[in-house]
Symmetry: C2
Subunit: 192 residues, 2 copies
């Protein structure tokens, strides 16, 4: 079940570097696209940086609306994620072709993707210079959600099933699943 | 053994979102810091975006030198990575305290970290506005290296040993190792 997460914890949804699904909505339509180049850039208020290539339908819709969602898909969605990163919403309705399903978000018009394990609703901040030069969008997270079956004591827990693990794209459809959990030892003299 | 990698393939070293070690050199000293908020933002010439918080010694050295390296550490280095992300180079010599060892880079003064599996030598691009507002640095990759025992046929291969796997920080010293390799099916109608 999708449950709200406090904004100050939203960075934890992306901190490990998973590949994301970016959704957008404008001009009476929506789109979904796989994006590996997305990361947190601030804790509170949480902000993200995302590369959305010029020429894509998502780029056009995001520039028109100033809104995106970042959703964290799972290994159960592997082929769908690769598909929506490989074909354009200009050529086909990617919701229909991928089997991914949209659900309404709470604060933005861009939809959430069902079956993911985390969702960030975001408003793009006005940084036209780096958008133009690098296709780089800075956005503030205005709502965050997590799948409660994989979230225990304020962190990820995939004991509910391997199929829930986030995926990390390398290239050409090769991904790593998020793997073994490890706890580092706290160093002497650490301030945090 | 560290071997050179063509710049056009350098994005593959970070595309899966591993936590990195950022090194810097200026004022006659060097430093090393763990950074989870780093990602590729372009293929060729390859560029990266990295958050380096104001107030850190690394921030000061990078602003002075305009150079960094991004190194990809392994699970064998777990505690050292957490340590150099938790203590400041202003308080102690992190090379001595962490056990990490520096090796000379080829194109920048900032050193490479021995025992990592990938290395990107980078020159910071002049973007003072987003540096100031978001602590976000854009850099061009000017040399790339990979550990040849984990690189086969142009991609990662960790069959040489689990200890070589990159690590992905969530929060508070909890990391995921890069896990199972998966190949997605190529969708019909894909252009790439």
């Amino acid at each position: 079940m999708r449950v709200p997460l406090e904004l100050r914890r939203a960075y934890k949804l992306l901190n490990h570097g998973p590949t994301t699904l970016v959704t957008s909505a404008a001009h009476g339509r929506t789109n979904v696209m796989a994006v590996a180049w997305a990361m947190p850039i601030d804790f509170e208020p949480p902000k993200v940086a995302v590369v959305i290539a010029e020429g894509t339908l998502t780029h056009e819709l995001v520039k028109a609306s100033g809104e995106i969602t970042l959703c964290v898909p799972t290994r159960a969605q592997l082929d769908s994620v690769y598909a929506v990163g490989s074909v354009s919403g200009r050529d086909e309705d990617k919701w229909a072709s991928s089997g991914l399903r949209a659900a309404p978000a709470s604060r933005v018009q861009a939809p959430l993707v069902e079956g993911c394990v985390a969702w960030l609703e975001c408003r793009v901040l006005p940084e036209p210079d780096i958008q133009r030069k690098y296709d780089l969008f800075i956005a503030e997270v205005v709502a965050a959600w997590v799948e409660d079956s994989v979230w225990k004591d304020g962190g990820w827990d995939f004991s509910a099933g391997e199929e829930y693990r986030p995926i990390h794209h390398v290239a050409g459809g090769v991904f790593f699943a998020a793997g073994e959990r490890m706890q580092a030892h706290k160093p002497e003299g650490a301030k945090k």
